[in-house]
Assembly symmetry: C2
Homo-oligomer: 135 residues x 2
């Protein structure tokens, strides 16, 4: 039992370390949220930047509250629909803090007895064109 | 002790699930490798595609063997140098199976008593221009 406790601890630290470094390293804007109450459990810098906040200010916040005209229950329903669909579907939303238009896609997974969502943000083309307009 | 065993197990499954889904979801081509012997421990589809193989055929292979003119010890030294540098440095290599020119950057992390590398591949511009040439 001691052996398996230690092995479990080591394996957890391995995935924990891989997960944290991977989330920090990738350019894709990623948000993890609880599927039950919509709370943001983790996100990376690219996602925080698009939403217009810091990682620290966003973890623990409700995902729906970060978008304009967005009812929590309705948003969770739409995200779960998108996550359950065979084809890649996304929600078009406006980020409240930054005003940026984004597309939000989601995948559901189950871990530790809870359903969670991995959400990918895509800043929409019209929203991305702004820097080019400066040239 | 039973409680902490269960909590450890649940936490491990949580990170395991997050890690696997995240690696599968991102567009960045990512390879995890052992820092001691250079074996590929995991990689995603975008990375496998650039290397010119399947995930299944690449996991467990030596990373250096997937590149032209690449000595294992020398490659690991160069990757560790790049990982230890403050500025983002990358190695210019040619993928053996696909012939594609890539830039390889690395970050080192320590987990479960072992040093591992997270490597990010970037297909080089000249290598990416090929599809446009077809138009």
């Amino acid at each position: 039992a001691q052996m398996s406790l230690e092995q479990g601890y080591e394996a957890r630290r391995e995935y924990d370390a891989r997960y944290r470094l991977l989330l920090r390293s990738v350019h894709d804007p990623i948000i993890f949220a609880s599927a039950s109450d919509g709370t943001i459990s983790d996100l990376n810098e690219p996602a925080a930047s698009i939403l217009g906040g810091t990682r620290e200010s966003l973890v623990g916040q409700g995902l729906a509250a970060e978008f304009d005209d967005c009812d929590r229950a309705e948003m969770m329903d739409r995200l779960m629909d998108a996550a359950g669909s065979d084809t890649e579907r996304s929600l078009k939303m406006t980020a409240r803090r930054s005003g940026r238009e984004v597309e939000l896609s989601a995948q559901m997974f189950r871990a530790a007895g809870e359903r969670s969502l991995l959400c990918r943000l895509n800043a929409r083309a019209d929203s991305l064109e702004t820097p080019a307009g400066l040239a």
